[in-house]
Chain length 176, copies 2
Amino acid sequence: MAAQHRGLTVWFTGLSASGKTTLCNAVYQRLAARGCKLEPLDGDTARKHLGKSLGFSREDRGENIRRIGFVAGLLTRNGVITLAAISPCRTVRREVRASIGDYMEEYVNAPLDVCEARGPKGLCRKARAGQLPGFTGIGDPYEPPLRPEVECRTDRGSLEESVGKVLAAVGRALSG
Amino acid sequence: MAAQHRGLTVWFTGLSASGKTTLCNAVYQRLAARGCKLEPLDGDTARKHLGKSLGFSREDRGENIRRIGFVAGLLTRNGVITLAAISPCRTVRREVRASIGDYMEEYVNAPLDVCEARGPKGLCRKARAGQLPGFTGIGDPYEPPLRPEVECRTDRGSLEESVGKVLAAVGRALSG
């Protein structure tokens, strides 16, 4: 896997505080060090540039993710490895996978209680108290992937192990 | 200018029926024949994938174009020549130019009466009758670029001349 490579969307999904962003950032650094052409897309960037008017209802979050999927598809077909760390909803992920083709899913898996203990800014506590009605995993269901290309149990293994798994899968996808 | 090239956004602007899409498509074909990495972005695609809820008010059209600009920027920085045929509004074009950097503007210029005579589907007639209040150039002002990289008078020259001008400018931008 060198500077010349095909495009690929690497989609990290998991509960809030499961470690998606940490893993995504670590994978980004490693691929960048190899000279890969990379573009990270996150929910906040998408909201800022593609969906200022979108709220946090299930429908609006779905639409935000569809837009990220559209952009990821354009980048992927132009040879960019696009990293996205988002998406609670299986149906929308399935749509994105189908529309992109060169797509793989990394299930960043940690039990809800572990995520709650880690959770930044007391978000889970607020969600439990009903203050964040659409919070994924508490007020709103998280739908884990059924057949992810990679599963990382971030409560058991080290970050380095997870990174290794993802990089191996990316390497296979790009050479396949 | 070969298959390996830098990214660039080539932004065609002009009145409705000035010949933007025809010129953009012709430039696309010529660049594709040289093996360039290309991505065309048009207003309808953007609306479909990035802004279903946007209407046709000045503000909403501006937002649609900003989104196209954001995506064009991502593609451009990843080495793609992005062709966009849109945008009546100078302020938004200025924003897009500033945010992308590798950007050039093609002013597709034909007088309003020529565009009206050409106009597809009787759109200009409808606009004159007040049936399309935001129609660019009639109900809504068209703001021609002040310093376009290329200007093509499509009522005077042939399509092939216009294509030649654009290709020469693209070649200069990519080698510069």
